[in-house]
Symmetry: C2
Subunit: 220 residues, 2 copies
């Protein structure tokens, strides 16, 4: 007799994430899981991205925070569907939380769903939520040693957005060093350099994202 | 018959932390648990603090990182005892890790022990390691909404060090807003504003720290 063994929390989570993914696929949704340290600029990036794309693609956002709903309020002001998850202490989102949140969104009315994770460079990288890809932000103010100190996040993410490049003259951070370290961890990582504050570099990012959403539609 | 129940991980951790604390107290050590987001400047603050105080007080450092030993190497270069803990994926230090690390330090030869936690604004706040107090850093580049988004960290810490104030002209962050939010969470929090890069504000912090170490010696 073979006894089924639930090996660990991550395995259970993966199963729920796969179920979420099936539902997303059925709705032809492109889904990204956006991760970074606290204050690297995830919500600001989303605001700027929505401003540029919302007339051409239909965007929904699930916001993850320990508590409060400031971020979902910021996003809702931009005129898109937004849901806030409060993790009540947990340092990452998991498949189950997304399953709850997505049931409150009209998925058939969306092309792109962004899950903004809790600000944390560690655990979010371990938990799938059903996304097509993980995308991470790194602010130049965090320093260029982060890829080697938080390698899993850089290995698991398909895209790295280096934010706050307007601050480069005032901080000890080399984009070259970040790129070198990333090439050791994840050779195919796509890298964008931008500033949500000045707008520099945003066009390349939003064009790329729009193309991903279009490809996803075509592939179904 | 009363069955002993281990209620949760945190309870077990608290017990180990209390045992660590007894050993620290026996050695008349002042112990701080230093916490922040990745890249807020914990190691830079320690370098500057050690430079200013190492001729007057004996300092040891336990560095916590997911992997690598860059930070312990930076600290050891300053001529003090340094131990690196690699958590191998865990997003915070706990009492057990510190118990292991402290056994490799000559505690009787120290006045001040600094535990530099993993860069994370969430879980480190929940896990005692045996410290006298938790001290947190917040960089102005992270924005002024962090107290309300990561309240436990601000509630559990005795001291808040606001770092990178040299960048205030270039970011959307109000020290007033931080102070207002903190006053709602932790009225007695001691706040220092400084820049590790320019040196502004460091004197107030290191004087205060030196006084805490002296008080601890006197109290035994």
């Amino acid at each position: 007799m073979k006894i089924p063994v639930v090996r660990n929390v991550l395995e259970v989570n993966d199963r729920i994430a796969d179920q979420n993914r099936e539902i997303f696929d059925r709705n032809q949704l492109f889904v990204i899981n956006l991760m970074s340290s606290p204050g690297a600029g995830k919500t600001s990036l989303l605001e700027k991205t929505i401003e540029r794309l919302k007339d051409r693609i239909r965007i929904g956002v699930i916001e993850g925070d320990i508590q409060c709903s400031f971020d979902a309020e910021r996003i809702a002001k931009k005129g898109v569907q937004a849901i806030q998850i409060n993790t009540d202490g947990a340092c990452h989102l998991d498949g189950n939380m997304i399953r709850e949140a997505m049931s409150q969104l009209d998925l058939s009315a969306l092309d792109l769903l962004v899950v903004e994770n809790v600000g944390n460079l560690v655990c979010p990288a371990e938990f799938k939520v059903g996304e097509d890809m993980k995308i991470m932000l790194l602010s130049v103010t965090e320093g260029d040693d982060k890829p080697l100190k938080y390698p899993l996040m850089f290995k698991e993410s398909r895209v790295l957005i280096i934010n706050k490049i307007d601050l480069l003259p005032y901080v000890d951070c080399s984009i070259d060093n970040i790129r070198k370290a990333v090439s050791q961890l994840n050779r195919d990582m796509i890298i964008f350099e931008l500033s949500c504050r000045t707008g520099e570099g945003l066009e390349a990012w939003t064009s790329w994202l729009e193309e991903q959403v279009a490809n996803r539609k075509r592939s179904k």
